[in-house]
Amino acid sequence: MTEADLIVLGAGPAGMAAACQAAGAGLSVLVLDEQPRAGGQIYRDVARAAALRGRILGSDYTGGQALVAALDHPLIAHLPGAVAWRVDPDGTVAFSRAGVAGMARGRRLLVATGALERPMPVPGWTLPGVMTAGAAQILLKASGVVAGDAVLAGSGPLLYLVAAQMVRAGTPPRALVETQGTTDLLAAARHLPGALAGWRMLAKGGALLRELAGAGVPRFRGASAIAVEGADHATAITFDCGGTRHRIPCSTVLLHHGVVPNTQVTRSLALAHDWDAAQRAFRPVRDGWGRTSLSTVFVAGDGAGIGGAGVAALSGRLAALAIAHDLGRICAGDRDLAARPLRVRRALDLAARPFLDRAFPPFRGALAPDDATIICRCEEVTAGDIRRHAALGTLGPNQAKAFSRAGMGPCQGRFCAASVAEILAALQGTSPGRIGTHRVRAPLKPVTLAEIAALADDLPGPGPGAS
């Protein structure tokens, strides 16, 4: 059993910044990260790829190099390729690394597991050739691989960024099919931040759109009824726009309509969560330092509510300051003094959020899919299956899971829990916040019996999710 003052789950901007801040205060830090290299998804592989593909990926990406370099600190142990499959309230984490189980205990725990793409169930979304826009970006960052013959569909500034990167890579997408309309933009204008950060963000968005227009990438706005055609592989995307049905042949479809906090770990710990109506997602309840309903567990970064990389790093530092104070390494005065400029910057970085949330709402058609559309990719459960179970008296997501198997596959509901909550909420005329989301139990990721058995003596009995 490895012991540390602080265990950080995730080596994205929040986790890396927190680790550095905590180590700077004299704490021993263990960073467990699933990926083979630090950076998280936003700075994925940045230490290796910045020099090779920095021009295509842009300076927001290459800026992540400093955080990765700072992980090289004598008080920080960074374990890449470590998949945490069980987290206990006492700070014990069981993980696997290349098939070998390990165990560690931290006096404090920081969950910095980032975001997941909001599931976008449309007809045909399980076909080979359909991926998330985030996946296309990861391919480009980590592998220098660009998806050709592609159409991007959904909503959100990430679509513009991915499309622009594809243009720079010499493989422009065939089209950008956007689900948000001009009414969304007009409504969002009310939230236009006076803060400079907001205008900078808008200017960046404008530059990306000019890049796309310059490359001749067709844009469709206010699209609905999106579907992917194909038997064994995607062959075309179809959608309604401007009163007509469009069909664009393509072999790659990249879907995206926002990201949501990855709450697998915080839910497995049975921490309090609430529904963020503006971002249409569940997030762990936390205070201004990131402290959750369990005082020894903190959250930072997109896993605590979507804010982007800048906010994530600042939140990571704030959590580290609170943890250093908890463990007696800094006094309250020093903690608060160091926190003040971080809070100011965080508020600036967050100024554009309400505008973005309103301008790029999730695609309605994917929140309320047709009966025949698969919502649980693993167990191939359709939206109609969930509605039928609901009609028989299934009320909550846990019952829906038990009856339909949605959420029982290896992804553990990562790509269906949000859809189930939306469908049940719509049927009951309420908000997903009232429906809640299903419990998450260890193992958080599939693990072999041999790996569990190897740790049997160290594990402190049934986890919090078991009952």
Partner: protein, 110 residues
């Protein structure tokens, strides 16, 4: 096999030495030369491999969807272990197969 996925380095624009020399692996018996140390799912996509597996429920074809270890649609079988291709780096000699129909267990079933 034709593929929509293009390796930028192969275009000569940025010869990518850090991602390793090409090493032989096989997918379902088909011989492939992939970059050692590169992401396995990405390399298989460029090599034109699709699908990666068929679902245990309906037998539908699937390939990588999220590329970040969350969706499990990229499952392949290597050395008797079912694992996520997007979370693995290429090593010479890998014998890769589609996983048998049945739930993913992340482990051996013998």
């Amino acid at each position: 096999m034709k593929t929509a996925f293009r390796d930028l380095a192969a275009g000569g624009a940025s010869a990518d030495a850090s991602e390793g020399a090409r090493v032989p692996v096989s997918f379902e018996g088909r011989a492939l030369l992939l970059r050692a140390g590169a992401n396995l799912a990405a390399e298989l996509l460029v090599a034109g491999v699709m699908p990666f597996r068929h679902t245990p429920v309906s037998g539908a074809p699937r390939g990588p969807f999220c590329m970040m270890g969350a969706c499990y649609d990229c499952l392949v079988r290597i050395g008797g272990v079912t694992q996520q291709a997007c979370m693995i780096e290429v090593a010479g000699g890998m014998e890769i197969a589609m996983p048998p129909a049945g739930p993913a267990d992340g482990g051996t079933d013998d």
